[in-house]
Amino acid sequence: MSFLRVVWLVMRKDLIVELRSREILYTTLFFAVSCVLVFAFGFVREGQPMEDVGAGILWIAVAFSGTLALGRAFERERQSETMRALLMAPVDRPALYVAKLIGVMALMAAVEVIVVPLVALLFQAPLFRHLPMLLALLLAGTVGFTAVGTMFGAMLARARSRDVLLPVLLYPITVPVIIAGVRGTSALLQADPDPAVARAWLSLLLSFDVVFITLALWTFEPVMTD
């Protein structure tokens, strides 16, 4: 069976399961919105937000809610050990990785659709002034974060302390993604926006994406075999 066909089959299955339970979408969305609201209470005084906090809060909300989505996405495969059934299928195993990656990205994208306007509103951040560049940064950042997170999520699916281990392993490696995302977004939110700086951070994000997706596709099969 072709690589793309497997990706589609597994993604479709994940989508149906999520549409039935809505468990991951609602929990990640609730968490991301709560996160932004808590920061709003801390950083907005008399209707005036502190300078330059919008970009950081947006990416913190994305990263934290993404971690939650990654953990739950693989917890679902662990409950009936269905991950082992997927691994036993006569398909390219990296296709399973790509399917999970796209599935988690879709969930994070749904969260971002809500969180970006919320941050723009609460922190008076002109996030929509350079919308194409913001979307490119969010897309590249989400790909990088989920590329690493999907790999670790799959590896830790059967570990006892997976809930603790996932963030412990994920955050140190994805620090460059979060820094690049924050700095790139921040460059767009300044009074005098600097798209050139944002482009430079976007390039860094794209390089990270290429490196980690390549590594994940290369190592997924041996890592998941045992």
Binding site: M1, V6, L9, V10, K13, I16, V17, R20, S21, Q79, S80, E81, T82, R84, A85, L86, L87, M88, A89, P90, V91, D92, T225, D226
Partner: protein, 232 residues
Amino acid sequence: MDFDSLTFDEVTRNFGRRRALNRVSLTCHAGELIALLGPNGAGKSTLLSIAATLLTPSSGTVRYGSQSARDGGAALRARIGFLAHDLFVYPELSAAENLWFFARLHGVRDAAQVVDGALRQANLQDRRDDPVMTFSRGMRQRLAIERALLHAPRLVLLDEPFTGLDDTAVVATRARLSVLRDRGCIVLLTTHDLETVEALVDRAVVLSGGRLSAIDKNQGGLRAGYRRVATS
């Protein structure tokens, strides 16, 4: 690819400092139904997982005909059906959706027709569109058995296939296993229910403390043979 035998040769498997399997050697042939017996924690599920290519031995080799798991890859996995203790079905999906998904994933042609047949075998036609989370343990077990057999595997690995089944389902499952053997499948099953498989199996082996011993079921039956090995 196809094969007509499964051979474990001096297979050892360690989990950290614990040795689950200790130099296990066993050959199973096409058209043979073998019971893998032993107390809890003896290493039965580990041996099945190794045969299913989900675990690799710490030492020793497993051969499918003349090929190893590494050589066989996806083509080999296409010829293996595995019912594990965890049932490998999605509780949120219906019985038909679960079977359809795994049929397509295994590249089964005429998936809809095969799924209908599997639902009939599992006696779940009237519950085909109900989510699996609403099923009893026995119904899930019947579904999981059919999930493992959807793609007509050569090697059938069944970990406690009779768990949760009522008498009617036990009889149906025994008949199903008998048909698989007659079709030339290699069937390796674990069970604690010796009376149920007594007349069904061609031979039985016992795993105890990671070591494998054969039982001669013609000398007083499986239960007596099992006791002899367990107490020796």
